[in-house]
């Protein structure tokens, strides 16, 4: 991979990060955040990525899909181009909540291929790792709130549908649906932000630590699956207002994925230490 093509790719990833920011703001505030800005940055990022891909293809005299990093970058560019075309034609802005973070993370993975010099000091490496762990744990905690509030929402919704008021005093004190809905939105947005930050920092750490080998780690693959479930949860909620049972089920699935990720990480660290 040519030096400059990686540079263009990293610039593109930087521009795509604005899209991620926009998605997070949209979830938490429940209205369009930086959409205009993010869209512009996205188009510009796509241009840089195209330059990077063309340069890479010309250097190798073949389509730049020879390994997983190149494929990631290539796929994310296709998704971006498709999104921009769909947006141009149908103005489907709500898709952006899903596409923006996805493209950003895919491009970032693509950009983490060429090995860089290792950590300048172990302190930085440890701090980097600590930030990753804290961000991910905060994300899990927020997800726990989302899942709990979703289940309570489900119970309260059932109760209101059944049209029966008193089945013991416990149910009388359940919070109103509106309050729960607000809590779910807030915790989901905050949790998603933390998990995304955690996964970006974690990927970079693994990349520096292990070079190109990092992409093959099973624990990292599970992390990305978890993140995708989270992303789906966020997307369905914002675009079609998923509530009740669907949110409850999906948030519990996401929580289970988090648990799996955690277990995978724990076993991996055990083997690393040995």
């Amino acid at each position: 991979m040519g030096e400059s093509s990686v540079l263009w790719l990293r610039v593109a990833a930087g521009l795509y990060s604005l899209g991620l920011l926009d998605a997070i703001i949209t979830v938490i505030r429940r209205r369009e955040g930086l959409f205009r800005v993010a869209l512009g940055a996205f188009a510009l990022g796509a241009l840089f990525q195209l330059v990077s891909l063309v340069e890479l293809g010309m250097a190798q005299h073949q389509l730049p899909v020879s390994d997983i990093f190149e494929t990631m970058s290539f796929c994310s560019w296709i998704i971006t181009a498709a999104f921009l075309a769909i947006y141009y034609r149908y103005k489907a802005a709500s898709l952006s909540v899903f596409i923006f973070p996805l493209v950003f993370v895919m491009t970032l993975i693509g950009a983490l291929r060429t090995p860089v010099s290792t950590w300048s000091s172990p302190v930085i490496a440890n701090t980097w790792l600590a930030v990753h762990v804290v961000a991910v744990l905060l994300g899990y905690a927020a997800l726990l709130f989302t899942a709990a509030a979703s289940v309570v929402y489900l119970v309260q919704e059932r109760r209101l549908k059944r049209k029966r008021q008193s089945t013991g005093s416990f149910f009388r004190v359940l919070p109103p649906l509106g309050t729960l809905d607000d809590l779910i939105s807030k915790s989901l947005g905050v949790g998603f932000a933390f998990i995304t930050i955690g996964i970006v920092i974690g990927s970079i750490w693994a990349f520096v630590e292990m070079g190109t080998r990092w992409i093959g780690e099973s624990s990292i693959a599970i992390s990305f699956v978890t993140w995708l479930v989270y992303l789906a949860l966020v997307f369905f909620r914002v675009s079609s207002g998923w509530r009740g049972r669907k949110t409850a089920i999906l948030s519990i699935v996401a929580l289970a994925c988090c648990l799996a990720t955690w277990v995978a990480h724990a076993t991996q660290f055990k083997s690393l230490n040995q």
Binding site: Q156, L160, K161, K163, R164, Q165, S166, R172, P175, P176, L177, G178, T179, D181, D182, S239, S240, G241, W242, R243, G244, R245
Partner: protein, 418 residues
Amino acid sequence: MKLLLTGLSHKTAPVHLREKLAIAEGTVPQALQELQKLGASEAVVLSTCNRVEFALSSPDDVEPHAIFDRFLTDWKGSSTVFDGHIYRLQARDAISHLFRVAASLDSMVVGEPQILGQLKAAYAMAKSEGTVGGLLETVLTRAFNVAKRVRSETGIGQMAVSISYAAVELSRKIFGSLQGQTVMIVGSGKMGELAAKHLRRAGASRILVTNRTWERAQELAKLFHGQAVEYTRFQSMLHEVDIVIASSGAPHYILHREDMQRVITQRKNRPMFLIDIAVPRNIDPEVDKIEGIFLYTVDDLEGVVSENLKERGKQAEQAEAIVIHEVELMMARLRIEEVTPTIISLQSQLEEIRAAEVSRALRRMPDLTPEQVQQFDAATRSMINKIAHGPISELRRNAGQPEGNQAIELIRKVFHLH
């Protein structure tokens, strides 16, 4: 002091008898004065549509029943017309009844808050006429506190027991705050108006009104400070509406499942509360199957109300326990107040004896130094205090006890107190 509580309530007498005993608001002062003239120390009159009650206190040697009988004869022509319906409660029973009335445990709708206000007004009236200030006042002020305690310690007044309030309560359960919610009234049924009024008062910020007759819609919109919507296009505005109150006279369903499915998708599944209080119904019951839509009919709301009433019944049991405890406390307090004069006369009698004996002794011993006089004085004082200590603590201990009166009588006899 003797206490009498007498009267009629919705539980003991039909309305035509209650009307007969009722004291018109303007003549209450006169009635209070009359009762006092007939020998009552204190009098309070409570006259509402569900109950007419008289509370009297009189000195121990005056029979309050006799006072009230004379009052009935003077004001209502005879003292016997209400026989079989009128209740006459004394002492503990009178106190217990007053507490229960104040706490709204004796009300037609248990827990309704108006009765406390009415009782307070009756007390204020008696106060301004100067017919309270003693035993009855003590009991009444305590009754107000008991009512407050019952209200804060049980959930007796918290649940909606009318259909329109049930609608407000459910809206709160669905949306949390009603601030910022939009209400649409379809049609102009009376009950719909009432529900809308309550929702408005509870904070709903925007009210839309639609009606087949444009003038009627505008009229109602003015009434609620809302906005009139043409009947032909109200469906296209439904996605902005959180609460729909349907009470139109249409002979068929005006909202169908497909319509509402479209609306809820447009709202991105944000919940909606539909209240159908029209007969025949305005909204297809199939609509209730849509996730995120809560459709309540009159029957559903009535179901909520009856559940709430049942729950109130449970809370009322707790409230009764509070009242029983409070009556005990009140009785004990009154008995302690009763023995206070005995204690004072015992102390003053002993002091009288001591003072007389000390001055006689000092006259016989003129040579004592001032210090010696002082010591003599102190010794005798301490002596009578020690003698008095036993009987005083016995008096206090027996006050408020079931068999306490015998012990109190005995002490009075032993010390020749009268």
